[in-house]
């Protein structure tokens, strides 16, 4: 079982990481690189004449293959990491009688997206390089806590008996009532439209990545298990 679990998760993680990286390079990275022009000061929003307008000129992602190769490699590592945890949880649920199929793997993947990207992202949206944030320690603690609490809440919705599913409501709300750490100042290094678009595109590609991950984990697992 362990061998099937590890191989399926790695294969799914590498494939989902490839899909996610290609989508990021198409949609997210051009915005990230445009944001970097504001981070480095090559472009300045609120220029010296006091105008709040900046030209929207998106740089091409260029030919820095080493840089984009790293984005591909680290997406594969990240999605393999998430895949190992996701498939371990699916296999655990399977041992309690919940069948694994590629179709419900898709639901697991979407639930993973909600717990790992959407819920923490509501408090701490994806940010462009150069965005100024509060101290990293408390933000990481809030991020990790939000993921765990949201995952428990989703498990209660999926598997809770009777009224226990309702316990998910306070669990889903708690991290946001506590609130993510934030600064008392807006710095607005990059134009707000660019930041918003970057955040939305990050969510979109992560949803595609996570859906693929859940589907592929289940697909490889059912193949390996049948063999």
């Amino acid at each position: 079982m362990t061998k099937n679990l590890l191989t399926s998760a790695v294969l799914a993680g590498v494939a989902a990481g490839l899909i996610a990286a290609l989508l990021q390079l198409t949609f997210v990275i051009p915005h990230l690189m445009e944001g970097e022009l504001y981070e480095t000061g090559e472009r300045i929003h609120f220029a010296t004449d006091g105008s709040t307008q900046s030209d929207r000129i998106q740089p091409s992602i260029g030919t820095d293959f080493a840089r984009h190769g790293m984005t591909l490699a680290f997406n594969m590592i990240t999605y393999t990491g998430y895949g190992l945890i996701l498939l371990a949880l699916m296999v655990f649920a399977n041992s309690k009688g919940h069948v694994i199929t590629p179709r419900n793997g898709l639901i697991w993947g979407i639930a993973g997206f909600i717990a790992v990207q959407l819920a923490p992202g509501i408090g701490q949206p994806p940010v462009l390089p150069g965005a100024i944030g509060s101290e990293v320690g408390p933000r990481q603690a809030w991020w990790a806590m939000t993921i765990i609490v949201t995952a428990i809440a989703l498990a209660l919705i999926a598997f809770g008996k009777g009224w226990t599913a309702l316990l998910s409501v306070p669990l889903l709300l708690a991290p946001h009532l506590i609130g993510a750490p934030y600064l008392d100042t807006y710095f607005g290094v990059a134009p707000p439209e660019l930041s918003a678009r970057f955040a939305a595109l990050s969510f979109g590609t992560a949803l595609a990545g996570w859906s693929s991950l859940g589907f592929l984990c289940a697909w490889f697992w059912t193949k390996a298990d049948a063999a």
């Binding site: 790293m70 945890i85 296999v91 990207q117």
Partner: protein
């Protein structure tokens, strides 16, 4: 008796397998999302921003 022992052993090794997979997953995520070492941080930079890891 024999059957019981076999069942227990199998469920122990499944629990071990799940634990190994979870730990390996957390280890990979620490490397790709959280670790502060400059080399890792720079190489993973774009991916960390795109995946919204709170890394700096």
């Amino acid at each position: 008796m024999t059957t019981n022992t076999a069942t227990i052993e199998r469920s122990d090794s499944s629990a071990m397998g799940l634990a190994i997979a979870m730990l390996a997953g957390v280890f990979l995520l620490m490397a790709s999302g959280i670790a502060q070492a400059t080399v890792l941080h720079d190489a993973a930079h774009d991916q960390r921003h795109a995946m919204a890891f709170p890394c700096h």
